[in-house]
């Protein structure tokens, strides 16, 4: 129900006193109301929920988050796994840090 889909604003216009836009989602173009993001320009990405643009997608933040996640394993390499394993074996909660439940499937 709270689904909101990112789309690219193709064109903005006024319709009966309401600020509207044509927004492209993949291959589909639909109309969306821009009243809540009145300064949006063509070319920008917005999230559309039930025909209303509710927020803009920040391209810099999108890239920053994605890059940070891609680089997560570089943190892992800083670990000394042996120490973890020793601690894990001694800890009463060791079964919770072994890893995924699928690790145990042969």
């Amino acid at each position: 129900m709270c689904l909101a889909i990112p789309g690219k604003v193709v064109e903005t216009y006024d319709q009966g006193g309401l600020r509207m836009a044509r927004v492209q989602f993949g291959g589909i173009v639909r109309e969306a109301c821009l009243e809540y993001l009145p300064e949006t320009q063509a070319g920008e990405y917005v999230l559309v929920h039930v025909g209303f643009a509710i927020t803009r997608v920040d391209e810099v933040e999108a890239e920053r988050t994605y890059q940070a996640l891609k680089e997560l394993d570089q943190l892992n390499e800083l670990d000394a796994p042996l120490v973890d394993e020793v601690e894990a074996a001694e800890s009463p909660v060791s079964r919770f840090i072994k890893g995924s439940k699928y690790d145990e499937i042969p």
């Binding site: 109309e31 809540y36 025909g51 509710i54 933040e61 999108a62 997560l72 909660v93």
Partner: protein, 388 residues
């Protein structure tokens, strides 16, 4: 599609899960608030990727699910009236009331229309001046700006044939209700990304502080959900409990101010009954007095309707994160999306319907094997007793 595909990258997902394993030292129970997140989790099997001991329980954030049966019956009573065109979002059409659903009413000659945007109701109203257009205005804060705009425009344009049947619900009071319950198991929340895109996340800060729970506002794509889970576990492991924003590409702390302004002009806060949970104080929106001319509850004299939910249904406990669909003896047998017994089966975003849609009623995935053996033994018992 841009801003969707990159957040579905399996290799990055594996890195996030590896990082969870690296930092996790003890079991944690987290709740994803939104039905959209629940759907994404079950569809992508994200709960089964998580390290052992990290459990996701499913929250109350499915507005279709929590719309009380009385309100659905009220909607159906209005939709049956001869001079009414009843408009609704598509996902409300299959929700059964005490006597059929909106599809049934349509097949019996009632005029029921699915709208993409609430603004579509204005077009329908202009084209049908001799009919009353009634819109079923349900949803969380995410949907409130769109529904508020319909009421606002109807009033501005002095339209006499447009009204709203409002059953709006709010997330923060529901989180408080969950946390205040003595049965509560939830230690951290994946917060509702699109609700916060509209409202910002300031109102979650006092909740996080009061109950000492991390709340990480989270998006809906697989990487968003795994990232939000990682951020929540990190806080728990470090003994912190604050509000953080995983979904920074979409929202900031303030939210959408023009939207909040119109919501405030059109709606006031009211107590609201939640299906499966009961009445939560100050947990919904109603139309303000200035919009009485567009308030369907005032325009259509629908008598108070008393309803009874099936006793077997445990959806109330599922919505509060106490139980899961597999804990219900009716799940997938007596209760299915075709014949839902309660809240969490009536919408695709309900936990039970999501589990059913992705085949989890067929095999007890992720269930404790010992519990399964016990269940088999229990179901075998009466047969043996009969023979003896």
């Amino acid at each position: 599609m841009k801003y969707l595909d990159e957040y579905r990258d399996g290799e990055v997902a594996a890195k996030i899960v590896a990082e969870m394993r690296r930092i996790q030292t003890q079991p944690w129970v987290l709740m994803e608030v939104c039905g959209g997140q629940t759907h994404s989790i079950v569809k992508n099997g994200l709960d089964q990727l998580l390290p052992q001991g990290v459990e996701l329980v499913h929250g109350p954030g499915c507005p279709v699910c929590v719309t009380p049966l009385e309100m659905i019956d009220k909607a159906h009573a209005i939709a049956r009236l001869p001079n009414v065109i009843f408009c609704s979002f598509g996902d409300m059409l299959r929700v059964p009331g005490s006597n059929g659903d909106l599809f049934t009413i349509k097949s019996e000659g009632g005029e029921v229309r699915i709208v993409y945007s609430p603004l579509d109701c204005l077009k329908i109203a202009r084209a049908n001046p001799d009919k009353q257009i009634v819109f079923f205005a349900i949803g969380f804060e995410t949907t409130a700006p769109a529904n508020a705009m319909l009421a606002w425009r109807a009033r501005e344009e002095r339209m006499t044939n447009v009204s709203l049947l409002v059953s709006h619900v709010l997330v923060p009071p529901a989180l408080e209700a969950i946390l205040a319950s003595p049965e509560n198991r939830v230690q951290g929340f994946l917060g509702p990304g699109h609700v916060c895109a509209v409202m910002g996340y300031s109102e979650y800060m006092p909740i996080s502080a009061r109950y000492k729970v991390p709340i990480v506002v989270t998006g809906f794509e697989p990487l968003d959900i795994l990232h939000g889970t990682l951020m929540t576990i990190k806080q728990l492991e470090e003994g912190r409990a604050v509000v953080e924003n995983q979904y920074s590409r979409v929202l900031d702390q303030a939210g959408n101010l023009p939207a909040q302004k119109l919501i405030g002009k059109v709606f006031g806060v009211t107590d609201r009954k939640w299906r499966g949970i009961g009445t939560i104080p100050k947990s919904g929106y109603r139309l303000r007095e200035e919009f009485s001319a567009h308030d369907a509850e005032k325009l259509f004299d629908v008598a108070e309707i008393a309803t009874l939910e099936p006793e077997i249904c445990i959806s109330g406990q599922i919505l509060r994160g106490i139980k899961k669909p597999h804990d219900c003896p009716a799940f997938g047998t007596l209760c299915s999306p075709q014949h839902p017994l309660g809240a969490t089966m009536v919408s695709a975003e309900g936990a039970c319907a999501a589990y059913y849609a992705y085949g989890r009623h067929l095999k007890p995935q992720g269930a404790d094997p010992l519990q399964q053996i016990a269940l088999v033994a229990a179901s075998a018992a009466p047969v043996n007793a009969g023979r003896a």
